[in-house]
């Protein structure tokens, strides 16, 4: 399992593309939004939590199809499916690898971008905390979408259509944490709910994803 994790990480970094692309996209969103809505600090501070979460979510979406597509094409997915390690475990590890190259850098970069969007200072801690707690869910849910569309030629657009509705709860609770944090309110409830979603999804969804991959490999 660790070997698979290391292999995926190495591939993601070496192949370029996937690693930097999500971050660059996140940065672009944070730059483009003020250009679109105008530079008033008060407006930006108000919408910053939502924009940062939506940006992170879209950046995560960009690299989803790469989770399984390359392995499907060169046949290593078949090997993984027949390997002694359960496919559910392989899916979980691959989601973790995806998170490590997209969600984790996004989380670490988010305070810098929050600066651009004029997030109130008391929100920074909660922004990082909510992204750290929430982005794993994005990767795991995304892996499910990628597993559904892995056999398709032009799955990219369909993948977004399938995955985005599934992101709704994570987005709502994640952005709520930051919004409340920035306003200096109590954040316990949404933060716990966000953590609950991440844990439940990580525990259960790999089974559905593995089932979908088995169907696609049939």
């Amino acid at each position: 399992m660790i070997a698979l994790l290391l292999r995926d990480l190495r591939l993601a970094i070496r192949a370029g593309g996937g690693f930097g692309l999500g971050l660059a996209f996140f940065l672009l969103v944070a730059v483009l939004v003020p250009l679109g809505v105008g530079p008033e600090p008060a407006t930006l501070a108000k919408i910053a939590p939502g924009i940062l979460w939506v940006g992170a979510l879209l950046a995560c979406l960009l690299s989803l199809d790469r989770i399984f597509a390359l392995d499907f094409e060169d046949g290593s997915l078949d090997l993984l499916a027949t390997a002694p390690m359960p496919l559910e475990g392989a899916v979980a590890v691959k989601s973790l690898a995806h998170w490590a190259v997209t969600g984790l850098p996004l989380t670490l970069a988010s305070p810098v971008l929050a600066l651009l969007l004029n997030l109130p200072p008391q929100g920074y801690l909660w922004l990082v905390a909510s992204l750290a707690l929430g982005t794993p869910a994005l990767s795991v849910i995304g892996a499910f979408g990628a597993a559904l569309t892995v056999g398709l030629k032009r799955g990219g657009l369909l993948l977004s259509l399938l995955v985005l509705p599934l992101y709704v709860p994570t987005l709502i609770f994640g952005a709520e944490v930051v919004k409340r944090g920035a306003a200096g309110l109590e954040v316990g409830a949404p933060l716990l709910l966000l953590a609950g979603i991440t844990l439940a999804v990580t525990a259960l969804l790999p089974f559905a994803s593995a089932a979908a991959i088995r169907v696609n490999l049939r």
């Binding site: 369909l158 399938l162 709704v168 709860p169 709502i172 409830a189 979603i197 559905a208 979908a212 049939r218």
Partner: protein
């Protein structure tokens, strides 16, 4: 070709052919009675004026939009567990109906909300979760369209339906948390106090019956079409083999 390919669909075809005229007649009778009664012979509400008449379309459509997803959930489960092809095809047949009902509910709601709430759309929990339900229908239909192999498509859409159900429910509670709404509570519940008054209640019940019958009719009709389409595919494949 195994016996299951034919035996079960065949029985479904004969049974549904016998039922179909009756449910279609029931649909027409109920919808005509309910809508005409509701539209022409119910009084205006003292607060909402004549817009109260929209309830006869809005509530049944919304109700059936959710029930259609429930039915897809059940048929998907049957397909995954028992592998009855008709079940998978019935789920496929129901999705566009559910989507249409969702659209009807959203459109009638918007048209009603404009004079009553002063806005076509509000990010109210009920409205938002209906929009999300519509997105789930879209994704489900798109996944069916995208996959060529019928059994693979049935499997994957069933898995999506199961996972989607959980997330749809989760979204429902998430949006509740996120915004307190404008939308009124249940118009029909066992708690008599909350209900709409009797003048509106009976035509509404008939309309709901009509929408249920309409849903049944359309599901039967569309499932028959899907079964025939599947048979066409099988025959063409056999032609190519020969």
């Amino acid at each position: 070709m195994s016996i299951w390919e034919y035996a079960n669909p065949k029985r479904f075809m004969t049974t549904s052919a016998a039922i179909l005229p009756w449910v279609s007649a029931l649909t027409v009778i109920c919808l005509a009675t309910g809508l005409i009664w509701g539209f022409f012979f119910t009084p205006d509400d003292y607060k909402q004026g004549s817009t109260v008449k929209i309830i006869y379309l809005h509530v049944p459509a919304a109700l059936m939009a959710i029930n259609a997803w429930m039915m897809m959930l059940v048929t998907s489960l049957i397909w995954l567990i028992r592998r009855h092809h008709v079940s998978a095809l019935a789920a496929k047949a129901a999705a566009p109906i559910g989507l249409t009902f969702t659209l009807v509910a959203l459109v009638t709601g918007a048209v009603w909300g404009q004079p009553m709430w002063g806005t076509w759309w509000a990010w109210d929990p009920r409205l938002t979760s209906f929009l999300i339900l519509g997105l789930f229908y879209l994704g489900y239909i798109a996944l069916w369209q995208a996959i060529d192999t019928p059994d693979t498509a049935a499997d994957l859409t069933s898995v999506l339906c199961l996972v989607g159900s959980v997330f749809a429910l989760l979204s429902r509670y998430a949006v509740n948390f996120w915004n307190q709404g404008l939308h009124q509570g249940a118009s029909l519940s066992l708690d008599k106090e909350e209900n709409v008054s009797d003048v509106f209640y009976f035509p509404l019940l008939i309309c709901i019956a009509g929408f249920v019958a309409l849903f049944l009719t359309l599901v039967l009709l569309r499932t028959r079409t899907e079964i025939r389409a599947r048979r066409v595919q099988a025959l063409l494949a056999r032609d190519r083999m020969a």
